[in-house]
């Protein structure tokens, strides 16, 4: 356990000594803020119309009109930013050779991985915590439903953690941070795009593609529904990625 702690602390230090964390935080919050603003403004417009035409008003509620689009947009933005939080984790250790020392310290490979993954998750949770500002603004003007809000955040947490797990895996396969970042992004993009092909494919494939699509699973969280199927999907992505990372580290040892 002290091994996990030591690695975790080191990674947190490194996140904040490099500009990457600050850049990710700043731009992520700006972009999410922009989306929030435009969704909110659109909602204002439609509610104004609804005031004049009560027929509209039936379908209008904050969860569906603001929170759900905000969550799915945030999910997509995460897809762009999460690879930047994980690209360094193993690639840089391999490039600079520090992995040789790290893997000869008296800790298991799994503890090293746990410390690194935990650091990425904690950074991500901090980031997610800052976005809570936006629902708070909504709450100031109108009544928010807590259920969908919390389940939506749980969905984002699972989604982001899956992104991070894939990123960690890719980072363990290369020595180049830029390659790690782009390859992660490409893989995640693939898992998103596969959801679109679901619409084209027919029959059984449709269900398969839909199931594989990484963003598809976020939607029900935004509605306040926590489906075990979705939770299991994200947890399996995480578990599989971390397992493969351990295998990659082991093979690194054999190859030297």
């Amino acid at each position: 356990m002290t091994g996990v702690r030591a690695v975790f602390k080191k990674e947190m230090r490194l996140y904040f000594t490099s500009p990457v964390a600050y850049v990710v935080f700043t731009f992520f919050l700006l972009i999410v803020g922009y989306f929030f603003y435009s969704i909110f403004a659109f909602y204002n417009l439609t509610s104004m119309q609804a005031a004049m035409n009560p027929a509209f008003a039936r379908d209008l509620n904050v969860t569906d009109a603001i929170m759900r689009p905000l969550f799915s947009n945030t999910g997509i933005i995460l897809l762009f930013f999460m690879p930047m939080l994980t690209m360094r984790l193993f690639a840089e250790e391999k490039r600079s050779g520090t992995i040789e020392l790290l893997l000869t310290f008296p800790v298991r490979d799994g503890e090293v991985l746990a410390g690194k993954f935990a650091a990425a998750i904690v950074l991500f949770v901090m980031l997610l915590g800052l976005t809570a500002l936006y629902p708070a603004i909504v709450g100031y003007f109108t009544r928010v439903e807590w259920g969908p809000l919390l389940s939506g955040y749980l969905g984002l947490l699972l989604l982001g953690s899956s992104f991070l797990a894939v990123g960690v895996l890719v980072s363990s396969l290369t020595e180049n941070q830029i390659v790690a970042s782009f390859a992660t992004f490409a893989i995640l993009l693939g898992f998103w795009v596969i959801g679109w092909s679901a619409d084209l494919a027919g029959g059984n494939w449709r269900a398969v593609f839909q199931y594989l699509s990484i963003l598809e699973h976020l939607d029900s969280f935004g509605k306040g529904v926590i489906d075990t199927k979705d939770v299991l999907y994200y947890l399996s992505v995480i578990a599989l990625s971390l397992f493969l990372t351990l295998r990659a580290l082991e093979s690194k040892r054999w190859r030297g």
Partner: protein
């Protein structure tokens, strides 16, 4: 403390080491010598549990490096060849990390880190970023990191490479001071370093152990005769033939003159010290004896002979 038995390792088609066997006693300091690409780093990486061997076994501090790797790793300090460190951390933060991950308890950590910083002369730079330090200081941070858990065994891959002469002397003194409580294996290209620091030598060439033992033993093994250098004023030919008459002398060579004195090299049997006889002879003839000493077989000569012999034997084997 270290027992290596028929260790073999391949990188793809390249066999880096083959059937490497040696052992090092507790408290010993042993130099690991070999030309470039001989397999020093490979052997040390296996001992430090970075990579598993393809064949053979190695035990460090009583534990097997493969099946009990965590136990071994708790008891070693390892300094890899290129001293890989986190450039973005300060010296103090890095050493604190190293101490924690190596299992130094929270209550001891501050004290241990201060101790190794003191020992490696790092106190002045402890707030500086490692990436901004000079090569010599980085080397010391690497050494401090290896020492921070007070390990039984130190595995140092070229610890003095790239240092200025003053720092080399300091680091050597530091390593020497570790003898006794710590068992040290250090690799180097610098032959005098081994004579100065180490008690024993292991010479590896092309992935195989070519020779091992104490320096004296190696000198005897590879140079069965002793060499004595002297400067004598007197007619060169007369001196030469007189020296030849001394029992035990095998060969005399006149190597030139300096300051009006002839320089001679006398090769004699090792088991018979001919120096007293030479001095007596020169005195009897009333020549002047300006200098007389037995040339220690430099490790360099041993090394060259071992490695050259191997090359020769290798050439024969493949022919």
């Amino acid at each position: 403390m270290i027992q290596v038995d028929r260790l073999t390792k391949q990188y793809g088609p390249v066999t880096a080491i083959r059937d490497v066997s040696f052992s090092i006693e507790k408290g010993g300091i042993v130099g690991f010598l070999g030309p470039n690409g001989a397999g020093k780093t490979t052997t040390m990486r296996i001992l430090a549990c970075f990579m598993p061997a393809a064949g053979g076994t190695a035990r460090v501090a009583g534990y097997d490096v493969f099946s009990q790797s965590l136990e071994v790793r708790r008891r070693i300090g390892y300094l890899p060849e290129n001293v890989p460190l986190y450039g973005e951390l300060t010296v103090a933060a890095y050493l604190d990390f190293a101490a924690e991950i190596k299992g130094v308890s929270r209550s001891d950590r501050k004290r241990r880190v201060a101790e190794v910083m003191d020992r490696c002369d790092l106190a002045d730079v402890q707030r500086r970023l490692i990436g901004k330090l000079s090569k010599g200081y980085r080397q010391r941070v690497g050494l401090a990191q290896a020492l921070v858990n007070d390990p039984d065994v130190l595995i140092l891959d070229e610890p003095t490479i790239g240092l200025d002469p003053v720092q080399v002397a300091e680091i050597r003194a530091l390593i020497k001071s570790l003898a006794g409580q710590h068992t040290v294996i250090l690799s180097t290209h610098i032959l005098p370093e081994v004579s100065v620091v180490c008690e024993g030598v292991i010479i590896i060439n092309r992935g195989r152990i070519a020779a091992q033992g104490s320096l004296d033993r190696l000198a005897e093994e590879f140079f069965p005769t002793a060499r004595i250098e002297l400067q004598v004023t007197g007619p060169a030919e007369a001196v030469r033939s007189a020296l030849r008459q001394i029992p035990g002398v095998l060969r005399v060579e006149h190597q030139g003159t300096a300051n009006g004195a002839g320089i001679f090299m006398v090769e004699a049997m090792r088991d018979r010290d001919v120096r007293a006889a030479i001095a007596q002879l020169v005195a009897e003839r009333r020549w002047g004896l300006l200098e007389l000493h037995q040339a220690g077989m430099s490790l360099e000569e041993v090394f060259l002979r071992v490695v050259a012999g191997e090359e020769f034997a290798g050439g024969e084997a493949t022919a």
